[in-house]
């Protein structure tokens, strides 16, 4: 049983005949880190919002994790949310302190003040921003704001963590360190992650599986499972996979049928 499932999903613009997405089927399994890779503006964020339930698909069906999944895992039902979203622009509320921004998703879950505070602080600790709890968002750097966005999503203890190009607007050094941090958090929490990006190297670095979304209307044009050897930057395996992903994005035939370095070895 996949944790979340898109079945032949289509989405048209304003319910008309122009489709943004068409015939998209995708299964997400528990514990996976899936990168949704595609060119800018192709509809990756739209697909994420369909999965999140923020947009209704015009065709097909969406099955997401249910809010009470957590009951079996020791935490009482109703005190967590099934899915959480990290936005590209962090999207913090300027009138809330960092701590209260993180606690935003916890409100309405029947937690008392102390429980909310503790869980929000736990999440801030996880992203290394505990000491910024009482600061206002505008006093944070871009990287710190994005960390708060990640903490806000983690604190609701979601089964599925959806991330919409969360590091796209950051400088390379900050992006790199946040990627490392995300991997550490993923290994620590075993969350299922769907990570939207247009950056092939980022997808290869982070994901256990890469799904390529391309075309117009957009559909899934390829999929690769990533192992440890493809994750070493500038290794032949890494370069080969990057080439295959580029072909998938461009809608060209997969060059991966006969890896050139392997035929040379034989």
């Amino acid at each position: 049983m996949p944790l979340a499932r898109l079945d032949d999903v289509g989405l048209s613009h304003d319910g008309g005949e122009t489709f943004i997405l068409r015939h998209v089927s995708l299964n997400l399994h528990k514990g996976e880190f899936v990168a949704l890779l595609g060119p800018s503006g192709v509809g990756k964020s739209t697909l994420l919002r369909v999965l999140m339930g923020l947009s209704k698909p015009s065709e097909g069906s969406v099955t997401g994790p249910q809010d009470d999944v957590g009951a079996a895992e020791g935490r009482s039902a109703g005190k967590r949310r099934a899915q959480a979203l990290v936005f590209q622009d962090a999207r913090l509320m300027p009138w809330r302190s960092v701590l209260r921004n993180v606690a935003f998703g916890l409100e309405g879950l029947g937690l008392n003040r102390q429980e909310k505070r503790e869980r929000a602080l736990d999440a801030l600790r996880l992203v290394g921003l505990e000491e910024a709890a009482d600061r206002w968002p505008k006093r944070l750097s871009g990287g710190q704001r994005q960390r708060v966005g990640v903490a806000r999503a983690l604190t609701v203890d979601p089964d599925l963590l959806l991330m919409d190009e969360p590091f796209g607007a950051l400088d390379p050094i900050t992006r790199n360190s946040l990627q490392d941090e995300l991997l550490r958090i993923w290994q620590q929490t075993h969350k299922t992650v769907l990570f939207v990006t247009h950056d092939i190297e980022e997808a290869l670095k982070l994901a256990t599986r890469i799904v390529v979304l391309s075309g117009s209307p957009a559909g899934i044009t390829g999929e690769l499972t990533i192992g440890a050897e493809q994750k070493t930057p500038d290794s032949p395996a890494f370069r080969m996979y990057a080439a295959r992903l580029r072909a998938m994005i461009a809608g060209e035939p997969d060059p991966g049928g006969a890896p050139y370095w392997r035929s040379a070895e034989i």
Binding site: L54, L85, D89, M93, W95, R96, F104, G108
Partner: protein, 254 residues
């Protein structure tokens, strides 16, 4: 070139401006440039004020006007902000009220005085009504504009974290996000309210406005000016006090 002034410099300069204003005024009256029958000299105001205080008129007028002002401000601000917020949030209500708003908006507070007398009589309620009307529109438009300029992405954020319902959006997004605009409306209303106090008391409800009308019918210009300055002072005090409220509510903007 805009020279940056420190806070202290600005306060000092504005004090100096007032000094020049009153000094020039006094000099103009003393030299006969302004006929003293037309304009009272600032130095004569002190005695006029003392007379008003000794007679108890000044204190009573302030108390009366304050009660009209406070009540009118309360009703006008709360109703204006509330209806403005709702119109900004609910498109159906917005469209329904659009025609009515355009019809009533241009009517000045003063034009409502006959109806205030008819409906409420020559009493506090009548004066309160006139003040409330003029304050209402300021707050209505301020709140409406504030809601319309809320970043729509915040609604998406609210939906993503389980606060997508009407009340979720209202309390988690609309109220805090529009607070700066609503506060600006309240502040403008504080000034507008004092301006309408005179209009509201024109027809004989006791207060600062009524006292000014009495004095002006007796050509007691010094008393008129005393109450003008009184009103300026009261406005300054209310605006100063409101500054603390604003600072508290909008701490995050500091």
């Amino acid at each position: 070139m805009k020279a940056a002034l420190s806070r202290r410099q600005r306060v000092a300069l504005s004090g100096f401006g007032l000094l020049v204003f009153f000094g020039g005024w006094e000099a103009a009256v003393r030299t006969g440039l302004l006929p003293s029958g037309m304009v009272p000299a600032p130095s004569s105001l002190w005695q006029a004020w003392l007379d008003e205080v000794h007679g108890g008129f000044w204190q009573q007028a302030i108390l009366d006007s304050l009660s009209h002002y406070a009540l009118g401000l309360l009703f006008g601000s709360v109703l204006g902000a509330l209806i403005g917020l709702l119109c900004g949030m609910v498109p159906v209500l917005d469209a329904f009220l659009a025609g009515i708003v355009h019809l009533l908006r241009p009517v000045p507070g003063l034009a409502w005085v006959p109806f205030a007398i008819l409906w409420f009589g020559l009493n506090t309620s009548g004066a309160t009504f006139v003040i409330a009307i003029s304050v209402f529109w300021i707050n209505f438009y301020a709140a409406y504009a504030a809601v319309r300029s809320v970043d729509p992405e915040l609604y998406e954020l609210a939906s993503a974290f389980g606060h997508g319902s009407f009340f979720g959006r209202l309390f988690k997004v609309v109220l805090p996000a529009s607070a700066p605009g609503v506060m600006a409306g309240l502040r403008t209303g504080l000034g507008q309210g004092w301006m309408s106090v005179v209009a509201a008391e024109l027809f004989g409800v006791p207060g600062i406005g009524a006292r000014m009308m009495q004095a002006s019918s007796l050509l007691a210009t010094d008393v008129v000016v005393v109450y003008m300055l009184t009103m300026a002072l009261l406005y300054a005090v209310t605006d100063f006090l409101f500054g603390f409220v604003r600072l508290r509510v909008l701490r995050w903007q500091a």
